[in-house]
C-alpha cells in the first residue's frame, strides 16, 4: 500500500509541476508576436548593433590617433633629426596600442546613450529589409523553378558519365540549381533602393550617437549592421538566440521574462513530458504486465528522444517522417521472423540466406535492364524462386537438428554471407552498373536510379503534409504483406504451424507433420527475407553486397523482440510496433546524439546496445533449460 501511495504522491507532484510549466508556457507563448516580444527584440537588437558598431568606432578612434601620431612624429623627427620612417613607425604603433587599451577598458555605458532616433530608423530599416528579402526569395524561387529541370538533367548525365567511366557513384545529393546566372529583378532593385534609404537613416542615427563615425566608416560596417538587423527567415526565437549569442543579454530589463517567452514552447513540451512521466509512474505495474520492462524502457526512451528533438528544435515532423520510411523499408525483413518463430525454428538468424537471394534478384533485373515496376516485380520473382530453393535446403538442415537452431542458423547465415562474398567476385554479371570496370567482381554498393527500381514504392502515391512526407506505396506494401502473412496464419496450415512452434510434441501427437510445417515456415521466412531486402534497397537507393547482409538478421530479430515477441511466440502487431520503435529510436537518436556530443558515433553504439541487448533479454527469457 505504501508503495502505491508513494506512486500517487510522485505522480501528483509531477502533474503539479506539469501544470505550472503548462501555464507558464501558455501565458508566454503568445507574447512573442505581441508588443512585449517586439520590445524585447528591439532592445536586444539595438544593443547588439551598438556592440557591433562599437568595434567600428574603436577602429575610427585608432585611425584618428594614428593620423595624429604620424603628424606629430614628422614634427618631432624634424626637430631632433632622427630617422623619419622609424619614428613614424614607433609613434603609430604606440598610438594604436594606447587607443585600443583606452577603449577596450572603458565599456561604453549603453544605457546613457540616446537611442530614440536609432530605434525608429532601425525599425523602418528592418521592415524594408524584410520586404527586400521577401521579393528576393520570390524571384530566386522563380529562377529555381525555371531551371530545375535543366539541373536535374545535368546531374543525371554526370551520374551516368561516372558509371560509364567506372567510378564509384556516391549517395545521390539533392539537385541544386546553379545561381550564378541569377540577375536581380526590377522589383528587387526597387526594394534594394528603399532599403538603402533606410540604411542611410540608420547610418545618420549612428553618427549621431558616435560622433567619431563618418559616412565612410558607416559604409564599411554595412554588412555587419544588415546582418544584425534582419536575416532571411527571422522570427522571435532565431533573433533572440542570435542576439544572445552576441552577448546582449544586459540590454533586457527583465531577463527572466524574456527567457520564459523564448522557451515558452519548450515549457509546454516539458509539461507534456512530465504528464507522460506521471502516467508512467501511476500505471507502472499495468504497463509492466502488458508490455514488459524492455518495451517500457525503449518506449520511454523513444518518447524522451521526441521531446529532446523538440527541445533542440531539430524538426520532429521530418524525423518522424524519416522513421516512418525506415519502418517501411525494414518491416518486411522483420515480418520474415514471424513464420520462423511460429514454425518453431525460433529467431531465424539465418535470414541472410533470403537476403542474398533477394539481392541476386535485384542484380538480374539491373543486368537485364528492366525498368520500373516490371523490373521490381521481376527482381521479387527471381529472388523468391532462389530463396524458396535455398530455404528448402536450409529447412532440411534445420529439421535434422531440432532444439539447437539459433547458434547453427547464425553461423550458417554467416557462412553463406562469406561464401557469397566470393560469389560476388566471380558471378558473370556484365553490366557496368554492377561491375568494377577495372578489377574483378561486383561493386560494394550498387546505386539504384530512376532507370531501375529506386524509390518505386516510396514515391508511389506519396504526398506531403507540411514537412511530413507520407510514403504511401511503401506503407501500403508493408500492410499488404502483413495482411497476407496474417491471412496465412489464420489458414489451416498456418494454425497447424503455430501449433508446432508452441508445442512440437503436442502437435506431433495430434497428427501434424512437424517436419513439413517447419519446412513451410522456413521457406516462407526465407522468401520474405528476399522480398524484404528488395524493399529495403529500393527505399535506401542502394543494394549493398559483400558483408553488408551479415548483421541484418540480428537487426530484424531485435526489432520483432522489441515489439513484444518472444523466441517462440509472435504476432503481426509485434512486427509493426517493434519496427517503428526500433527504427524511430535510431532515426531520432542520431541528430539528438550529435547535438549532445558533436561529431560522435554514439548513435551507432546505441544501435549495437539496443539490438543485442534485446536479443540477450529474449534469450534469458526463453528459459534455456526447457529447450534442451
Amino acid at each position: 500500500m505504501t508503495k502505491n501511495k508513494l506512486q500517487r504522491a510522485v505522480a501528483i507532484v509531477l502533474v503539479a509541476a506539469a501544470l505550472v510549466l503548462a501555464v507558464l508556457g501558455a501565458v508566454n507563448l503568445p507574447k512573442r508576436t505581441t508588443q512585449t516580444g517586439q520590445e524585447i527584440i528591439d532592445a536586444l537588437r539595438i544593443r547588439t548593433l551598438l556592440n557591433a558598431t562599437g568595434d567600428g568606432v574603436v577602429e575610427s578612434y585608432v585611425k584618428i590617433a594614428q593620423d595624429e601620431a604620424r603628424a606629430k612624429a614628422r614634427e618631432d623627427a624634424k626637430a631632433t633629426g632622427a630617422n623619419v620612417m622609424a619614428t613614424i613607425r614607433d609613434y603609430v604603433a604606440k598610438a594604436e596600442e594606447e587607443t585600443r587599451a583606452k577603449y577596450a577598458s572603458s565599456q561604453t555605458d549603453y544605457d546613457a546613450l540616446d537611442t530614440t532616433a536609432l530605434k525608429a530608423a532601425i525599425s523602418t530599416y528592418a521592415a524594408q529589409l524584410a520586404d527586400y528579402q521577401a521579393v528576393a526569395q520570390q524571384a530566386e524561387q522563380a529562377y529555381i523553378d525555371a531551371h530545375i529541370a535543366e539541373a536535374e538533367a545535368a546531374a543525371a548525365a554526370a551520374r551516368q558519365a561516372k558509371i560509364d567511366a567506372g567510378q564509384e557513384v556516391g549517395e545521390e545529393k539533392p539537385v541544386t540549381v546553379d545561381m550564378s546566372g541569377f540577375v536581380a529583378t526590377e522589383e528587387m532593385k526597387a526594394a534594394q533602393l528603399k532599403a538603402d534609404e533606410g540604411f542611410a537613416a540608420v547610418g545618420e542615427a549612428l553618427c549621431g550617437i558616435y560622433p567619431v563615425l563618418d559616412a565612410a566608416a558607416v559604409n564599411t560596417l554595412k554588412g555587419t549592421i544588415t546582418d544584425v538587423v534582419y536575416q532571411r527567415g527571422d522570427e522571435f526565437t532565431v533573433q533572440y538566440d542570435r542576439y544572445m549569442a552576441a552577448g546582449s543579454e544586459k540590454a533586457l530589463e527583465n531577463g527572466t521574462a524574456a527567457f520564459l517567452i523564448r522557451y515558452a514552447d519548450d515549457l509546454l513540451y516539458g509539461a507534456l513530458a512530465l504528464l507522460v512521466a506521471a502516467a508512467t509512474v501511476l500505471y507502472y505495474e499495468l504497463l509492466c504486465k502488458k508490455l514488459g520492462i524492455p518495451r517500457i524502457i525503449i518506449g520511454l526512451f523513444f518518447i524522451l528522444l521526441c521531446f529532446m528533438t523538440l527541445w533542440f528544435d531539430l524538426g520532429l515532423s521530418t524525423l518522424l517522417s524519416n522513421s516512418l520510411v525506415r519502418m517501411g523499408m525494414n518491416s518486411i525483413m522483420v515480418l520474415a521472423m514471424v513464420p520462423g518463430i511460429q514454425c518453431g525454428i525460433s529467431l531465424n538468424l539465418g535470414l541472410p540466406i533470403g537476403l542474398v537471394a533477394g539481392l541476386i534478384g535485384g542484380l538480374v533485373t539491373i543486368q537485364l535492364g528492366v525498368p520500373g515496376w516490371p523490373g521490381f516485380l521481376l527482381a521479387i520473382v527471381v529472388g523468391c524462386v532462389i530463396a524458396a530453393v535455398a530455404g528448402w535446403l536450409y529447412a532440411q538442415l534445420l529439421n535434422r537438428l531440432k532444439g539447437d537452431e539459433m547458434s547453427v542458423t547464425t553461423y550458417v547465415g554467416f557462412s553463406i554471407v562469406s561464401l557469397m562474398c566470393i560469389a560476388w567476385l566471380v558471378l558473370p554479371f556484365t553490366s557496368l552498373k554492377l561491375r568494377w570496370p577495372m578489377g574483378t567482381g561486383l561493386r560494394n554498393t550498387i546505386g539504384l536510379d530512376n532507370t531501375n527500381f529506386k524509390h518505386i514504392l516510396d514515391d508511389f502515391l506519396a504526398f506531403k503534409v507540411g514537412s511530413f512526407t507520407v510514403p504511401t506505396g511503401l506503407l501500403l506494401f508493408m500492410l499488404l504483406m502483413c495482411f497476407l502473412v496474417w491471412l496465412f496464419t489464420r489458414s489451416k496450415t498456418g494454425v497447424a504451424m503455430s501449433a508446432v512452434g508452441n508445442n512440437p510434441r503436442f502437435a506431433e501427437a495430434t497428427g501434424i507433420n512437424v517436419d513439413k510445417m517447419r519446412v513451410i515456415g522456413t521457406v516462407l521466412s526465407t522468401v520474405l527475407g528476399a522480398i524484404g531486402i528488395l524493399v529495403y534497397s529500393q527505399s535506401y537507393g542502394f543494394m549493398q553486397l559483400y558483408t553488408a547482409p551479415r548483421q541484418m538478421g540480428f537487426i530484424a530479430a531485435s526489432a520483432i523482440l522489441i515489439g513484444g515477441a518472444s523466441t517462440s511466440r509472435c504476432k503481426i502487431s509485434h512486427v509493426l510496433i517493434g519496427t517503428f520503435l526500433f527504427q524511430g529510436v535510431l532515426t531520432l537518436g542520431m541528430p539528438v546524439a550529435n547535438e549532445l556530443v558533436p561529431g560522435s558515433t554514439i548513435s551507432e553504439t546505441l544501435r549495437i546496445l539496443i539490438s543485442n541487448g534485446i536479443i540477450l533479454y529474449a534469450l534469458t527469457k526463453s528459459g534455456g533449460e526447457a529447450r534442451a
Binding site: L349, L397, R400, L401, K402, G403, D404, M406, S407, V408, T410, Y411, V412, F414, S415, V417, S418, L419, C421, I422, L425, V426, T440, G441, F554, V597, G599, S600, T601, I602, E604, T605, L606, I608, L609, S611, N612, G613, I615, L616, L619, T620, S622, G624, E625, R627, A628
Partner: protein
C-alpha cells in the same frame, strides 16, 4: 589392442582431415617458400596459441565454445591502456597489465557466467551476442569516458579534435611494452628444439625410472625425438626453419598453460567441470553447485583470454582500439574446432594442432587464391568463409550426433 579402423578415424576427424588436405592444396598453389611459411607460422602460433587454449575449460564444463572471450580481450585492452597511461614500459609493464587484467576480466567473467546461467543450452549464441553487446559498452567506455570524463595524459592515446581514445594504440613507443615477452629469449629454431627435447628426454627418463610410464611408450618418445634431431641435421630440412626465431618464453608460457589445463582438470574443481559438462542434472543431484561451477569456468576462461590478448598485443606492437577484440572469439573458436575438438570435448593437443592448421591456412590462402583465381580477395574471403563454415559445420555435426543418439536410444527402447 584394438584394430585401427580408417573409416571410423576419418568420420571422427573429418574436419581435421579436410583441413589438412585444404592446407596442403593451398600450400602447393601458394608458391610461397617453406621457410617463409614456417617463419610466419611460428609468429602466428606464438601470439595466438594462448587464447585458443583459453577455450578448453568452458568446453569441458559443457558450455560450448566461449565466444564471450572477446570480453576477456576487452579487459586486457583496458589494462593495456592504463599501463601505457602510467608509462610503465617493458616487462614490468607487461606484468602490470597481466596483473591488472585479472580483476577486470574476473569481474566481467563473473557477470558473463551469471548471464549464461540464465540461458543454459544457448550459451554459444548467448556468448556471441553478449560479445557484440559488450562491444557497444566498450565503445561507450573508450569513446566517451576515457579521454573525456577521465582525462588521459600519455601522448598518442588521445588525438586532438576527435572524441575518445585514438583508433590505434601503439606499444612500440618507449611507454609501451612491445616484445616484452617475445624479446626475452629468442633462439634459432634448432637450438630451441634441442633445449625442448633435452627437457622432454629428462622428464621421460625420470618417469621411466619411476615406472610411471610404460617402457614402450617412453621408448617411442625417445626414438621420435632422436629422429627429429637427426632430421634437422639434413641441410634441406634445416633450411626450412632457417628464418624461424623462437620466442622461447612465450612458448614456455603456452606450455605452462597446457600443464595448467591438464592439472586443473585433475583437481576437485576440474572433476566438477567434467561432471557438470557431462550432465547438469546428475551433477546437481550429486551435490555440485552447478551454477557456481559454470561461473568459475567462465571466469577462468575470461582471465586466460585476457592474458592471451596481452601476448597477442605485445607481439603485434600495436592494436586497433575499436576492432582488435572483435574477431578473437571467431578465430579462436574456429581454430580449436579445426584441431578436432567438438563443442563438448577438447584437449590441449587439439587446440594446438588446430592453431597450426588454421593459421597455416591463413598464411597461404590469399596467395593461393591469387594464383588459382587471379584474385587475392578470393583467398581473403575464402578464409573468412572457412572460419565461419568450420564453426557452422561443427555445430551442425554436434547437433546431428545429438539427434542421432536420441534416435538410437529410442529405437533401442522400442525394439
Amino acid at each position: 589392442m584394438r584394430k585401427f579402423d580408417w573409416r571410423t578415424f576419418l568420420r571422427n576427424n573429418a574436419v581435421t582431415v579436410m583441413f589438412v588436405l585444404l592446407c596442403a592444396v593451398c600450400l602447393l598453389y601458394s608458391g610461397q617458400s617453406a621457410s617463409f611459411v614456417m617463419y610466419e607460422l611460428f609468429g602466428r602460433l606464438s601470439r595466438n596459441a594462448f587464447i585458443v587454449l583459453a577455450l578448453i575449460i568452458p568446453i569441458v564444463a559443457g558450455m560450448g565454445i566461449n565466444f564471450a572471450i572477446t570480453i576477456g580481450a576487452m579487459a586486457a585492452q583496458i589494462a593495456v591502456l592504463w599501463v601505457i597511461e602510467w608509462g610503465v614500459s617493458g616487462l614490468p609493464g607487461m606484468a602490470l597489465a597481466a596483473l591488472l587484467t585479472v580483476p577486470i576480466a574476473a569481474f566481467f567473467g563473473y557477470l558473463i557466467g551469471k548471464l549464461l546461467n540464465k540461458m543454459k543450452g544457448q550459451e554459444m549464441i548467448g556468448g556471441l551476442i553478449l560479445g557484440y553487446f559488450a562491444n557497444g559498452l566498450y565503445q561507450l567506455l573508450f569513446l566517451f569516458i576515457f579521454g573525456n570524463l577521465i582525462p588521459l595524459k600519455a601522448p598518442g592515446l588521445v588525438i586532438k579534435g576527435s572524441t575518445g581514445v585514438a583508433n590505434t594504440i601503439d606499444l612500440s613507443t618507449e611507454r609501451g611494452f612491445k616484445y616484452a615477452l617475445d624479446g626475452l629469449l629468442q633462439l634459432p629454431f634448432v637450438q630451441a628444439m634441442y633445449i625442448l627435447f633435452a627437457v622432454l628426454a629428462v622428464v621421460t627418463v625420470v618417469l621411466l625410472l619411476l615406472k610411471k610410464m610404460k617402457p614402450v611408450k617412453g621408448a617411442i618418445y625417445l626414438i621420435v625425438m632422436a629422429a627429429c634431431v637427426g632430421l634437422v641435421q639434413i641441410p634441406a630440412v634445416a633450411d626450412i626453419f632457417s628464418m624461424v626465431k623462437v620466442p622461447t618464453v612465450t612458448f614456455l608460457v603456452v606450455g605452462v598453460l597446457c600443464l595448467f589445463n591438464t592439472a586443473l582438470l585433475r583437481t576437485r574443481i576440474g572433476q566438477q567441470f567434467r561432471a557438470v559438462g557431462q550432465n547438469r542434472t546428475v551433477a546437481n543431484a550429486s551435490g555440485i553447485n552447478v551454477d557456481k561451477v559454470r561461473v568459475i569456468a567462465i571466469m577462468i576462461s575470461t582471465v586466460l583470454a585476457g592474458w592471451g590478448q596481452l601476448i597477442f598485443v605485445q607481439n603485434m606492437g600495436s592494436f586497433q582500439t575499436y576492432g582488435a577484440h572483435e574477431q578473437v572469439g571467431l578465430y579462436a573458436g574456429a581454430a580449436i574446432l579445426v584441431g578436432g575438438a567438438s563443442i563438448r570435448k577438447a584437449t590441449n593437443g587439439q587446440a594446438l594442432l588446430g592453431c597450426v592448421l588454421f593459421h597455416l591456412l591463413f598464411i597461404v590462402a590469399p596467395a593461393a587464391g591469387k594464383n588459382l583465381f587471379g584474385d587475392a580477395a578470393i583467398g581473403e574471403y575464402f578464409r573468412v568463409f572457412i572460419s565461419y563454415g568450420v564453426i557452422a559445420l561443427a555445430l551442425v555435426m554436434h547437433a546431428w550426433s545429438g539427434v542421432q543418439k536420441k534416435k538410437n536410444a529410442k529405437e533401442a527402447l522400442t525394439t
